[in-house]
Symmetry: C2
Subunit: 511 residues, 2 copies
């Protein structure tokens, strides 16, 4: 078979197993939004069957042969070509999948499925010892996974991280995160000791859910989410699923007495959705039609949620509209008070409720702890103590018990090690991208003030979305912004935005 | 392999290909209810892939070997046993599927897909000649299908009918339908010449959609539809899909100025849904967990829609409730006027809008015409003339053009020949079942008057639902009612219910 024919057959196969995955994605969306409760047991059978078929196809030895035929051929001589990117990424994923013994995959699936139930019970009972044996088993299994897929002699953490953020390494992350933390901890301290205390009261009150839904759809459509190619629904935990070409679905959740949760949730998921909708539908199911990493994905959600959505420019346009929709809580509210309220900072215990400034400290703590768990430096039994110690040191707060402490997140019980740092990478990337877009587009705030985010979206389409998996995440950032992944733009952005809110004297923007 | 092991492997396989079909059913439900418009092209790819995988598994030669191992063994010696029914029905379906050459299946899929688009255009343009070449091709293809799957020398119509109503034959249907028509035509004539003209005005007016939805859910739940195991949604054309164990979804459509369409649509689909929810979830994916035929399915929907839902007993309970919900149109309405309005009869052109009395004449006309098309007695080019002639003769109405005439239904363009008669079989079965249930349960009306349909549902569960495919449809009816399929119970029921509405002198109930 000649390389071109092999490449075509490869992408045809990739599209086929991705089509199976897209069916599963629709079933999962359905499960989380509208599925009748009694359907849940069988939904597992459906998803299990589809996952098995997908795995069977993606690990077919024939795929390896086709890859070998294309690799080294003229077709992929230019490493920047779509063909080269497709082949490079298909190889990565084929090797990873075929290196994992089926027995390990099945044991991981079985153990993490049971462990998630145990985690729910342990968290509810505030009972770490109940969860401990499961954590022990999962850490051991993840070490074996890392041994199977990682480079010989490499850091096991890197092998896991690579699944979510291709090309990233724990040692580079460590440098980046240390530098970030060195700036964040004093900034949080300054804010905590400021006399300014934004009042969130204005964000509580009578916020009828039907109007929140209307506003959510309006804002989503206004910043570019295409409802002919997507939906916005309700689920217990917000998510975005890029199910298939022309079919990207986001969700949020509503409380009738709270403005923030659904509104910023929608902005966040719309950011993910815009990325998905910016991928080339004609390349669906192949690397050049896919998002590149969790970190880059998160950069898109956080950019819209925080850098756009908490800014004065954004609210200059939206506050008058929002005030007309919710007259009871907002009729007499002042712009500045509202803007301060959506930008308040407070060291807290729960990651998912953390503000933009303290959020990354939650992540860095998890990154350090999970590295130590994997390397063996931290025995799982010592996790609660290490957790509390980190929180006390970095955030100045201590959880009353493990439910709000080391058992608060589902990730570890689900076997997700190496996943947390992508949240902070997303925040770093977002600040870098927003910075560069502002430089290139001139006064970005001026268009945002007029409710027009089209130039920004166009810039992101051009510099991020359309590149799909052509480059590694770090290379994509380098090409888009001219810099390596860097903590300074985020720190500058936080100081520039939160300094004025909290009247910080030392909040001059550093160069 | 011993017969028991072969049987277990057979049902495991059947469950597997049915699980693929259930994924496709969920994707189809999604397509018809909530899917974003731009997702439609790729949805075809997803469904095509799943259908191909299902077909591959269901026609695997290994299935034939397993069947041969079980057939004739002690395991299936008792023809009434679940094992015997499973094996008999799996054989039926395996033979049918493997007898059809792949080329014919693909050509049928291709031609009917194109023909449905042509049908839409031809109907819109009132242009029969545009549709004629497609009808020609489809009739020829369906003849070839009948040749492939039918008994040698048999009526080709029977071979197609058998796919929808196992064991039925055109000659038996013909006798049944002739007898039915001989009674219906004069009954419709009597009604048409009655001086009573029920006024539908009370059913038009301000019927807010949100309240119609609320009422639909309330009625559905009241008569036994389990919302933990199902949903009610909105779609352009109402349907019921028994997607998977614990997951049966029905739909309806709403008009803000009309009471009837959604209300009776919900009752109809709930009837289908109750049947699906009455099947054994543990036998999902095998014949003993499946509905037996379209005719029996339709008997369940029509029983609830018409025999329960248009009755005085039903409205004695529901009218006061409905009147409170819709005060503007119904506040001053009288029970009798309302009851007459939902039981009005009028010969009309369109099958889907036909009342309960004239409906079967629409079906019998189609049955006669499609038999003639298949046998060659009616050249497709002559269809419009033959259609108008039948309508003039049996219903006394003639369509102004083919859009409301022979192009009104999608069925033939979709290759559905032999499907129409199951609608009328459903009506006949429904009357027989309702009759027998009334005999066995004593005063069924008394409980329905109190809003309690539990005894009736329990009877249907016991005599119809739980038997799944254990018997042929005709045998099921015989066992449940003590009689073969018969037109007389329906005629008696129509005369007993519509005679009083129209003050018919000759409406004494015949024995």
């Amino acid at each position: 078979m000649d390389p071109k024919a092999a490449y075509d057959e490869l992408t045809r196969r990739s599209r086929e197993w991705s089509t199976l995955a897209s069916c599963a994605a629709l079933l999962s969306w359905d499960e989380l939004t509208v599925m009748p409760t009694a359907a849940s047991a069988f939904r597992g059978d459906q998803l299990g069957l589809l996952a098995g078929l997908e795995h069977e196809r993606a690990t077919d030895p024939k795929v390896g042969e086709l890859l070998a035929t294309v690799e080294g051929s003229d077709l992929v001589a230019d490493p920047e070509s779509p063909e080269a990117a497709d082949v490079r990424e298909l190889r990565r994923s084929f090797d990873r999948k075929t290196k994992l013994p089926r027995a390990l995959v099945e044991e991981l699936a079985r153990v993490t499925s049971a462990a998630q139930h145990e985690w729910v019970a342990a968290r509810k009972g505030r009972d770490f010892p109940r969860f401990l044996p499961w954590l022990d088993r999962i850490v051991a299994l993840k070490r074996r996974e890392a041994e199977c897929v990682g480079a010989p002699g490499g850091d096991p953490y890197d092998a896991l991280l690579d699944d979510y953020e291709p090309g990233a390494s724990a040692s580079r992350l460590s440098g980046l995160f240390d530098a970030l933390k060195a700036e964040l901890v004093p900034l949080v301290g300054q804010i905590a000791s400021s006399e300014t205390r934004p009042d969130p009261g204005v964000l509580r009150g009578n916020y009828p859910i039907d109007r929140q839904k209307m506003l959510g759809e309006l804002v989503a459509a206004s910043i570019g989410f295409d409802f002919d190619r997507g939906r916005l629904d309700t689920s217990a935990h917000p998510f975005c699923s890029g199910i298939a070409p022309g079919d990207c679905r986001i969700t949020t959740r509503y409380r009738p007495d709270d403005f923030e949760e659904s509104f910023f949730g929608v902005l966040h998921e719309v950011g993910h959705g815009l990325y998905e909708q910016g991928l080339d539908p004609d390349r669906f199911g192949t690397p050049m039609g896919e998002s590149v990493s969790l970190g880059i994905h998160e950069s898109q959600s956080r950019l819209w949620e925080n850098l756009v959505g908490r800014g004065r420019a954004f609210w200059t346009h939206w506050f008058p509209i929002v005030r007309r929709l919710f007259r009871e809580p907002l009729g007499a509210a002042e712009f500045d008070a509202f803007h301060r309220a959506v930008n308040r900072v407070e060291p807290s215990l729960i990651r998912t409720q953390a503000d933009e400034v303290t959020y990354n400290l939650h992540i860095i703590i998890r990154f350090e702890l999970e590295r130590a768990l994997l390397s063996g430096d931290l025995p799982p039994a010592d996790l609660p103590g290490a957790w509390d110690e980190s929180y006390r040191r970095d955030l100045g707060v201590v959880a009353p018990d493990v439910a709000d402490g080391c058992l608060q997140d589902v990730h570890w019980s689900a076997g997700l090690f190496g996943y947390f740092p992508t949240y902070t990478l997303g925040n770093l990337y977002a600040a870098q991208l927003f910075d560069r877009a502002s430089e290139e587009l001139g006064d970005l705030d001026a268009s945002i003030r007029q409710g027009d985010t089209t130039p920004l979206l166009r810039w992101l389409r051009d510099h991020v979305h359309r590149h799909a998996r052509r480059h590694t995440p770090a290379a994509l950032i380098r090409r888009a912004t001219g810099s390596d992944p860097d903590h300074r733009p985020l720190i500058r952005s936080l100081k520039a935005r939160y300094g004025p809110v909290y009247g910080l004297s030392g909040a001059e923007v550093p160069s």
